[in-house]
Symmetry: C2
Subunit: 257 residues, 2 copies
């Protein structure tokens, strides 16, 4: 690798859309305003892989350059693999920050659970690095990423100045278009319904395409999805400790006889 240490912050950039996505270039450009950038990202699209890691085949990495400007390595694995491999093998010195994205598609609400973009950032948090995921609610690869870039800029500045508590990842979402503000929010309760379209192949055997319609189950006006509807960007602190502490307090004296 080639990430020689300077006095500037060292920022690792990853994503789940792969090294050729416009989103990773946009995020690397923002990160480069703050420090030295190195990219370690999947060599192909890895959307909806959640926090998958590769255990049954070995990983490989190949060097590449994005736009003759940002150096990095492409990995034949998932976003979480990329961050683990960067931390364990590819980087000569520890990053000050990990940023993942800009994802082409929303990672607000329940999407967080399926998101490779978020999992790269969460893996960074698990390994002890301040980590941020950034997503554009517009799936179009040619969407205007200005609001996302400005949101990323503000959140990166915040994290480099103030740090993040242990165990916390910041999940940023913004619409396409120009920046119209950013707010701290919570994750909206939501799910997918009417999820599959059944078809028959030429041999009359059934197969099913995932089609999935997003359903908001949340009446609040303070969730990420609500805020995004008003074209304001959202930043949601999320945690990898999944324990439901409130419920644990209620049930811990309940006997399991």
């Amino acid at each position: 690798m080639n990430n020689s240490q300077t006095d500037k912050p060292f920022i690792l950039v990853s994503n789940d859309d792969g090294i050729f996505s416009p989103g990773i270039k946009a995020l690397a450009e923002v990160a480069a305003e703050f420090g030295d950038v190195y990219i370690v990202a999947p060599d192909r699209e890895q959307s909806a892989v959640g926090h998958a890691i590769t255990v049954q085949v070995p990983l490989r990495s190949s060097k590449f350059t994005v736009s003759d400007k940002f150096e990095g390595e492409a990995v034949n694995g998932t976003p979480a693999d990329c961050v683990k491999l960067a931390h364990g093998q590819l980087l000569d010195h520890k990053p000050d920050l990990i940023v993942s994205g800009i994802n082409h598609g929303s990672n607000a609400g329940i999407n967080v659970l399926y998101s490779g973009t978020v999992s790269a950032a969460t893996e960074g948090t698990i390994l002890g690095y301040p980590s941020i995921a950034v997503s554009c609610t517009d799936f179009d690869e040619n969407a205007n990423l200005n609001a996302c870039k400005e949101s990323a800029r503000r959140v990166i500045r915040f994290v480099l100045e103030k740090g993040l508590p242990k165990g916390i990842t910041l999940n940023v979402n913004a619409a396409s278009g120009e920046f119209k503000g950013i707010k701290w929010t919570r994750m909206a309760d939501s799910r997918y319904v009417e999820e599959y379209e059944g078809r028959k192949d030429p041999f009359n055997r059934a197969y099913y395409w995932l089609t999935g319609k997003f359903e908001l189950l949340d009446d609040g006006d303070d969730s990420d999805i609500h805020i995004l509807k008003n074209d304001v960007a959202s930043v949601t602190p999320i945690q990898y400790d999944l324990t439901a502490y409130d419920l644990l307090g209620d049930v811990e004296d309940e006997d399991l006889e």
Copy 2:
């Protein structure tokens, strides 16, 4: 499918080790003590896939029978796919409970995030079903699953009697061997370190095997991993709302300028 409705609870069984694992048979046996069982599980091992879902290829399912006793369908997808497809296409009526496992390997501590077994149960929770994941801390496929089965039995009984609050999944872990008690716990803070073994192929190109050494970062004596060390089974309520509410309260007035 063939899950005709009776007065008994209807229980969907899934896992991530695939339909041929001894663990799914063991869990189906326990579930059958409480109601009618139907299995929808991956057609091959899907360990460490996290909450991945299949979006780029269509899903197929094939009927099969486990031990001439439990009917089900094998799906060419992830554990979360199996639960989604069962809910959306394969089941004629809604299950009263979803159980996932018995996984061959621990899903305590940080393993929860990488676990396909837990993701099947979490997907059940997202879709509105009471859901339980069950794992054996012993990787050996021939491990004695008695403690796991007894733990599953107690937790299934608890959930069928008392239900579960919205958004909560129960994550059960037990050692191999005989049952020695079960306790409500929280998820231990932990991570994997020294994660890759670098090798060279015959053409002198580098590749990396994931080897990962588990590291407990948690001093408490009340975490799942601590309790399991004493051969007591753990049951941890986990939530899919990842919002870090405590932190959100602290930061929500912080300006992101």
